[in-house]
Amino acid sequence: MTSALLLVAANAPSMALRYAAAFFLVVVGIGAIYALVRLGGAMGKADKLLADVDTEVVPLLKQATETLDGVNTELDKIDVVMTSVVDATGKVDQTTRAVESAISVPAKKAAAFGAGVSHAVSTFFNRGADGAAGADAQTEQDSAAAGAWSASAAGSNPSGVWPAGGADAPAAEPAASAAETAADDTPTTAQERDS
């Protein structure tokens, strides 16, 4: 009996360790089973989620592809329209330039003609202050052409008529003709000298 108690006492630590190990293994097994059950549930949810994605996203992708095809078709049409608009803009630009040149040139000529005629008429009928300086040479030619007219105008006949002496007029007529001929041959203005 004593020997049996001694034997039990001698083997007591190893038995306690074995029971502890068994308890630990049981607890670990229970935890592992619990984790595997939860993992299985999660995997089932993921499987279901993937199945839902497969059934819902693929039609959406098909619809998006069709929409993009339609957008590309519309973009092609817009490209054609934009090309037409660019061509039309170019034609409008050419037309505008043609109309501008067709209007501006006659308008320019008309303005120049009107100003020239107006100034020429005013110069012809009115030797004013601006025409007096340029008319000096012409006045001298007029005097030469008229023969003794300058002398008569400055002399005793202020009215500018031919003097009463009968012999002056016939003598002045050839002189006037010669002076006019000389005046015609001599360039009097800058334009005539340039030409």
Binding site: A107, A115, G116, F124, R127, G134, A146, A169, E173
Partner: protein
């Protein structure tokens, strides 16, 4: 007949004009009608020369002013035209 009528009418008109001119000239200068008539050719030649010189001067002035006006209009058109680089930038 029509030509003769025109000739007579023109002659009468010229005569009336000549008479008016002689009368006004005589009244202005104090000369007799005969003297005015005697000076009429030289007077006409002088008037012709003066008109010719005036016409020449007026023509030159008109051409000068017309060229200046044309250049001014050209400058105005160039200044009023839109520039090409304004639409790019």
């Amino acid at each position: 007949m029509k030509f003769m009528g025109t000739l007579v009418f023109g002659s009468a008109l010229a005569g009336v004009g000549l008479a008016y001119y002689v009368r006004e000239r005589s009244r202005t200068t104090g000369q007799s009608y005969l003297e005015v008539l005697r000076q009429l050719p030289s007077e006409a030649r002088r008037g012709y020369g003066e008109a010719r010189s005036r016409a020449q001067l007026a023509l030159n002035e008109g051409l000068r002013v017309a060229r200046a006006r044309e250049q001014q209009v050209q400058r105005d058109l160039v200044a009023a035209a839109p520039r090409d680089d304004a639409a790019v930038g």
